[in-house]
Symmetry: C2
Subunit: 328 residues, 2 copies
């Protein structure tokens, strides 16, 4: 059994989101709380800019909940950088506890799952969950120096510069967390580091099928089934794999990676990154749930579990996806 059922339905009482210039001109721009003109955000390195972004959403989320930092018990956060330094340094100035999470771009729903468990069981009162990514810090860590100006292959995605955070509490008004299905690692042997969608799609399909099996829900139960960052091609594989198992999710499925940018740009397959699902959920989706425009969604952040070392040593790229059921 990999699905965790929350008896008391803990609530996301506030969120905040932040995005770089490119994301701030995309399709969900109007819903993003903090939009930046400059992706350096006044810092002298990309890594420090990313840290500052995550710090900002933590600060804003607490403000939006009308609380002070002292009211937060624990932060659960992660990002794509080695040793999750953005999450660490963004959390350093808070006096609450810190639990570092890492499941690549699936980290946001991992954090929500753990945060909801801690609050639902009465172990903690408030948990702040957040993730971030930055195109330039990710690109130079995982791929090539930006200065090289490498050509991007058609199946590649564009790492989101931005992030978001959710504050989970037992009491208060907000979006309810109903249950969560923990993902397992699924490896279909994909080795192309420019085709993350294909690497992650089988894991997303496995999590969704498991979620349906363990909860008894069907696709109709949801207004939206939201994958994290499968991109256009990955989403097609995902829907095909789920369809093969007898579930048609064509009507419900959207992908955060496809939502972030405007179509026909140089991002090819769409957005990706630990900040991708976090940005879309904590801006657009949260607002729609709060307003009752969406009644119930399944948020499934998806992650590709690789490092530059694992790829250099010939390893394939396993994927993972954690699903969280949310209700208005």
């Amino acid at each position: 059994m990999r699905t965790v059922f929350f008896k008391n339905k803990p609530k996301i009482i506030a969120t905040s989101s932040i995005a770089g210039p490119k994301e701030s001109n995309g399709s969900i721009a109007g819903y993003i709380e903090t939009t930046l003109d400059d992706d350096m955000y006044g810092e002298n390195t990309f890594e420090k800019a990313e840290t500052k972004m995550l710090f900002k959403v933590f600060e804003k989320t607490i403000q939006n909940a009308k609380l002070t930092p002292e009211n937060v018990d624990v932060i659960i956060a992660g990002d794509l950088l080695n040793q999750i330094i953005s999450a660490t340094f963004a959390s350093r100035n808070f006096s609450c506890g810190f639990l570092g999470a890492y499941n690549a771009c699936a980290t946001f729903t991992e954090a929500l799952t753990l945060g909801a468990t801690l609050v639902d069981g009465g172990y903690l009162n408030t948990v702040l969950c957040g993730t971030s990514s930055h195109f330039s810090s990710a690109e130079r860590q995982y791929r090539y120096p930006l200065e090289l100006g490498c050509t991007r292959p058609p199946l590649s995605q564009w790492t989101v510069t931005g992030g978001g955070a959710s504050l989970i509490a037992k009491e208060g008004k907000g979006v309810k967390i109903i249950n969560a299905t923990v993902g397992k690692i699924v490896d279909f042997g994909v080795t192309d580091t420019n085709n993350m969608g294909a690497a992650m799609a089988p894991a997303a399909a496995d999590t969704l099928i498991t979620h349906f099996k363990e909860t008894g829900f069907t696709p109709d139960y949801y207004d939206l089934i939201v994958s994290g960052d499968l991109g256009a091609f990955g989403s097609r594989i995902f829907k095909d794999l789920v369809w093969e198992k007898g579930f048609d999710i064509e009507k419900q499925h959207v992908d955060c990676g496809e939502l972030v940018y405007n179509i026909c740009e140089q991002e090819y397959q769409g957005a990706s990154g630990a900040g991708c699902s976090s940005l879309v959920f904590n801006s657009y989706l949260y607002r729609k749930l709060l307003d009752g425009k969406l009644k119930r969604i399944l948020l499934m952040a998806t992650g590709a579990l690789l490092s530059s070392v694992s790829s250099q040593q010939g390893e394939s790229i396993p994927g993972i996806a954690h699903a969280v059921c949310l209700e208005s």
Copy 2:
């Protein structure tokens, strides 16, 4: 409030440990389940050897609990490598869920805290928690190529080649998990990447004081207060800081880093690494608790939250420590 109290006292029903040749000749050698003659463990890279070690302890822990892999709901694991690839690839062959954790060398007690919460609240039945490290994979990632043969400064520590795992379950015989205090990030501005003990000691002191405050316990309550890998110098700072706050832990304190190797060797301050506290707990300490030689201990893995990039960009090294109270 950062302390989590477990109502049902989930149990660690089995453990396993593994160690490289150097650790297998140290002071706790007789308690380690799998000792290796060769730190390559039949693989062609250090990273793959580390992955295989962690896989081995997962497998052995499940066997020691007289269960099969299908009985495990979720693995919570982490390590020191970029994108925690050892934990990821070691968990790939299990069909259970996976939650990646990262708090540097404090990851083991982070995993225990989260695992105990999931089991205690009745959310899952069995959670397998494990961490690993490898001297050679860590050294070349964080410091210098081994081939350079750099001189080690006197305050440096020696990353443990090895690891361990604990299986947490609601029912069964084993060591009880009573409560856990989540650590906060504490930064005293240490920038010397060869002096991790000093970087982590203030965080360890903060967690211990908070633990005493929130639980009402005093040092006498414990047979042992076990820090993760502060090393000889870091342990002195830790005890001094705690003493300044009115608690004398001289009698109870031991450090896993000081336990692993024999004295007067080239490791100077002792062992370190995400595998350090995991190795010592899952071999020596677990055995002593099971036999009733130890009644109650506080296990506090300690972590230094840095990456080579954060240090190169002039950042200091914050520390963190999570404490878990365990009873025979």
